[in-house]
């Protein structure tokens, strides 16, 4: 029987950069395809399951194709108290999809997310890496226009 936790584990060395590599792959092609996951597993000497496990743990990594721009509206309490629902409804109306969906033209994916740390300027949302704060339903179309 092998002793757990003894000596250096070559697999932990291989894993070391897995999350960083997944983040890079995601920013290159918007999502982590089956091929990407299998390719990473092979090159790092890990099982596909291990790579898939990491890829599906984190909410900013996606194994499904995403739109070119990802909208994330904060649904946590401080934004909820500042009527985040009107922002959610506003985005829904503006791009015609529900949270969890991607527009047919592939321009936008729409998600709800947990606290993004902009509670002092609630309600807030992210579009890709940009944080937009003090939102009102009126501001939405102008903000999204810049990403079209």
């Amino acid at each position: 029987m092998s002793k757990i936790g003894k000596g250096t584990d070559p697999r932990s060395q291989a894993k070391k950069d897995l999350l960083v590599l997944l983040e890079r792959a995601q920013s290159r092609s918007d999502y982590l395809s089956g091929e990407t996951i299998a390719g990473l597993a092979e090159s790092l000497g890990l099982s596909i399951g291990e790579v898939y496990g990491v890829a599906t743990f984190y909410s900013f990594l996606s194994i499904r194709p995403q739109g070119r721009n990802v909208i994330r509206i904060c649904k946590s309490l401080p934004c909820y108290l500042k009527d985040a629902q009107t922002i959610i409804d506003g985005v829904r109306k503006e791009i015609g999809i529900e949270p969890g969906e991607t527009t047919a033209d592939g321009k936008f994916s729409f998600e709800l997310t947990n606290c993004i740390g902009a509670c002092d300027k609630a309600p807030a949302m992210m579009v890709n890496d940009d944080v937009h704060t003090d939102l009102t339903p009126k501001k939405i179309s102008k903000i999204l226009e810049a990403y079209k």
Binding site: V54, L77, L81, D120
Partner: protein, 397 residues
């Protein structure tokens, strides 16, 4: 004066993109002083100051450093936890935006004190917009020769609340799923890649250059017996002036929310985020300290128009979503609590639900692997204690 800016002293004063403006404000003087001293002496100074962790757990910082310094091995790590994911917390964002240099100086001192040559700043994915600023600040410090003894690398999270928990965070830096570890061993003896590791919150590390420069006695002169120094609070919700406020520990919650943040008609305040305490209006004069209520300093205010059961339901829904799923009490308990609370929001609570919530709470607090599951029942139990009437009104059977 209610506010006291120690940690935030340079925020809004220096240019976060220009190290010269920081050096003008005595920047890196503490590091220069520290590098001339043996690590042991710095650790003793931090111990004597009484500084406790600002990320929520409040562990004595000097003790943590002492354990890591004395641990066997040449390879040691310093980690700065900048995975500020607690609901209602944004103080670290404010600090990073305005004064990344003090943080770098604090990390550099920590590295020297414990004998680490490598440090990581684990920055949450939601703060990616700060990555450039932070890396630029590190580059400038390196160019000025302040980081000869320590390499600082920024690692970006990928969206997981639980990674703010120290053992999950280390798993994440190791490239794995951010699932919590069994403890012991604790990080100072066996942390990142099983090496001795100190892991400190952004705000904790911000205090280090101040203490090294002005001394433990000065620091210990602020606060209460067991809560020394100041604390930075993130205030949001039903207030006139949301924002970041720094107060001496022991200041009252009432002063913070009513005098500074201009809250009116307060019904309750959640202190410490999703797993924090819910304080009803009649207890607003509670002091803010480790002995009473604190957490990481998230303060969310609810006025009298809010439905407290709805608030608690949303809190548990969040925790259920963010549970890493490794242990059953947390994974199942948060789901079960959220389902019961959801029924109450619809006015369809059952008499026995109150008992069930209590039983779930006992099990979760006793048997969960980490702080998430152990503290998840707190908002439920607090609301049952202070707002029982609201529950009783919605019992349909």
């Amino acid at each position: 004066m209610l506010e006291k800016r120690v940690v935030l002293a340079n925020c809004g004063v220096i240019d976060p993109e220009d190290i010269a403006s920081y050096i003008d404000k005595d920047g890196f003087k503490a590091l220069k002083k520290a590098l001339k001293l043996p690590g042991e002496q710095i650790v003793e100074e931090i111990k004597a100051s009484g500084l406790r962790g600002r990320g929520g757990a409040g562990f004595p910082c000097g003790l943590k450093w002492d354990l890591a310094r004395k641990a066997q091995g040449d390879e040691k790590y310093v980690i700065c936890n900048a995975d500020e994911g607690e609901v209602g917390t944004f103080k670290d964002r404010y600090i990073l935006e305005n004064d990344p240099f003090s943080l770098i100086e604090g990390i550099a001192i920590a590295g020297h004190a414990v004998g680490a040559k490598k440090a990581f700043i684990y920055l949450r994915a939601e703060y990616r917009f700060l990555l450039g600023l932070l890396e630029k600040a590190i580059d400038q410090a390196r160019e000025k020769g302040f980081l000869k003894h320590l390499d600082i690398e920024v690692r970006l999270g990928a969206g997981a609340y639980v990674c703010g928990e120290e053992s999950a965070l280390m798993e994440s830096i190791e490239g794995k799923r951010g699932e919590v570890r069994y403890r012991p061993p604790f990080p100072p003896t066996s942390g990142l890649w099983s090496k001795p590791t100190i892991i400190n919150n952004v705000e904790t590390l911000m205090n280090i250059p101040r203490i090294v420069l002005k001394g433990a006695e000065w620091f210990g002169g602020m606060g209460t017996e067991k809560s020394k120094g100041t604390k930075v609070f993130s205030v949001s919700g039903d207030v006139g002036k949301p924002g970041v406020y720094e107060l001496v520990l022991g200041s009252s919650l009432k002063e913070l929310v009513e005098k500074l943040a201009l809250a009116k008609k307060v019904q309750a305040v959640q202190v410490g985020g999703a797993t924090g305490r819910i304080i009803p209006a009649n207890m607003l004069d509670t002091p803010l300290s480790f002995e009473t209520i604190l957490g990481a300093g998230a303060v969310t205010v609810f006025n009298k128009s809010r439905d407290m059961i709805d608030i608690v339901y949303r809190t548990l829904e969040f925790l259920a979503e963010e549970s890493c799923g490794k242990c059953a009490p947390c994974r199942e308990g948060t789901e079960a609590m959220a389902a019961i609370l959801e029924r109450f929001t619809r006015g369809e609570g059952l008499e026995k639900d109150i008992t069930v919530l209590g039983e779930l709470a006992d099990t979760m607090m006793l048997a969960s692997m980490c702080g998430l599951g152990q503290a998840a029942p707190i908002p439920v139990m607090d609301s049952l204690q202070h707002f029982r009437g609201a529950y009783d009104k919605r019992i349909s059977l």
